[in-house]
Symmetry: C2
Amino acid sequence: MAHKIGRQTIVIDSPVSVSGSAAVGGKKEGEGPIGADFDFINEDSRFGEKTWEKAESKMQELASAAAVKKSGITMPEVDFIFAGDLLNQCIASAFSARKTKVPYIGLYGACSTFAEAVGLAAVFADGTAKHCIACASSHFCSAERQYRFPLEYGGQRPPSAQWTATAAGAAVISAKEKPPYVKAVCFGTVEDLGINDQNNMGAAMAPAAASTLSQFFRDTYTDPTDYDLILTGDLGAVGAELLQKLMEKEGFPLGKNYDDCGLMLFDREKQQVESGASGCGCSAAVISGHILPKLRCGELKKVLAVSTGALMSPTSVQQGETIPGVAHLVCFSSEKGGIF
Amino acid sequence: MAHKIGRQTIVIDSPVSVSGSAAVGGKKEGEGPIGADFDFINEDSRFGEKTWEKAESKMQELASAAAVKKSGITMPEVDFIFAGDLLNQCIASAFSARKTKVPYIGLYGACSTFAEAVGLAAVFADGTAKHCIACASSHFCSAERQYRFPLEYGGQRPPSAQWTATAAGAAVISAKEKPPYVKAVCFGTVEDLGINDQNNMGAAMAPAAASTLSQFFRDTYTDPTDYDLILTGDLGAVGAELLQKLMEKEGFPLGKNYDDCGLMLFDREKQQVESGASGCGCSAAVISGHILPKLRCGELKKVLAVSTGALMSPTSVQQGETIPGVAHLVCFSSEKGGIF
């Protein structure tokens, strides 16, 4: 049974595995450095749908269905779906879940949603459920017109801005002995150092990532050298640099095993994405399509995945609010044995 | 440890109690039939804030703080906050959680959020956590301008429309032996019978309530006569009538122990709310302020609370989508002993 250690960390006790995972992306994502790791790339980012919002929902459907297939089960065997997205009222997730007839637990954690979903699914799979889907998505076009400007406007982007990934990732979390395993999760607190520039989400999210990571290290008596890879969600170049400075101050320098999904999805030089990728779909797709397969085959052994979310809306920004962040952590391992 | 029975129901095994709960409301809610049950009523619905969105966040703060105080603990003793609201990107919940420094798990279940939060909190309190906050809110003014028209417009409302409650409810769910207890939870599937009238949310949500309730009865081998009260979230007059018809068809007629939070919060005759109340805050406040105290003192013994949500956004409606619903159920008992 999952039990809490320290202040925030939950250790998963029985074997809980990622029995299948899949990633879906748009054309630009397919052309990026990890393009070959996507299960499905759609050339026009519409996925056969009439609107971008419906396309985003379709991405979740495709990712979930592929993850379920890879896990060797069928949709009716899934106990619960934990899913979320960036759209107002999380319609991408809700409409995707409609077709499954599986109990649906809707989440909103901004770009931290994937780790939030995997974390909850792992707690449930540790005694309460057999199979849970964790899924998250984002779509450049639906996000751009909802958060910023109509797409046709083509506004100029500052160097700190990030490019919302058109991507979805899904993982089936199962009570099963099959690598990779979910060993622990750490749900984060809402952190706010007063950033109010909505074109600098990396800076807004970095303090939350630092808070969750350092609390996890304190709770588990481990440090960054105990892991092959420490991966944040979508801090981008600006946020990733800030996080490394914050972690040095916290006494946990991240070292060369640190990377950020927002820096892995696109080629920043060639693909004009400024500070990097962002969006719920960024960490969902990079973890599901690129990282979990490496854990499955043992190429990676111990990974901390920390999805990071900026908790804001156009309304909150217009009302002069700062942008707090939240970061949720999942500790994956290629081996069943304990880490802590 | 929480375990699943039947297709969807989770039975809470160790004693998990609602150690404290509180409700906060606006002026209109204070003038309604259960106005005296609110812990805090604000006369101008602004709660000392400059905007309605910030007021909604303040309501969550007030409700959570009061529930924590009643449970005899302090905020730093809370392990996790499960919260959500109707605002785009759930800013009411996120900004409220910012001040607590408690790990925050953001939810979006539309008006089903309160039962979703209590359900997750109960699963966590059954072995993984000691104290969790479950909280949800809505605000008439923030919802009206986000979903419908600017408030100043004063558009006419059809008889099937519902009035979004300006209210928040919070409950502290604890691993503790103290009535009332959470005995079981049932997370619902997304149901869609093709309703596309956004002024008739009751009809959109009734099929989801019927699905969750009848599945719960089948999973637990109980029927409506086993409970003192079966309470839906905010179906209003139109939805409540539809639900009763659907439940008859399912073979589980609800009988006279059935009621709806949307019909309890306001006096429909005097307060001009058409079909009744709605909003995440409706079931959150009615359950937290009115129902849980009756369970605490034994006036009610076995209650099924089913919060119901309509999964739509202005964008999904404009794009011609129908309005699916989801309903999550919590089974409360005044006694520690088993029900099933």
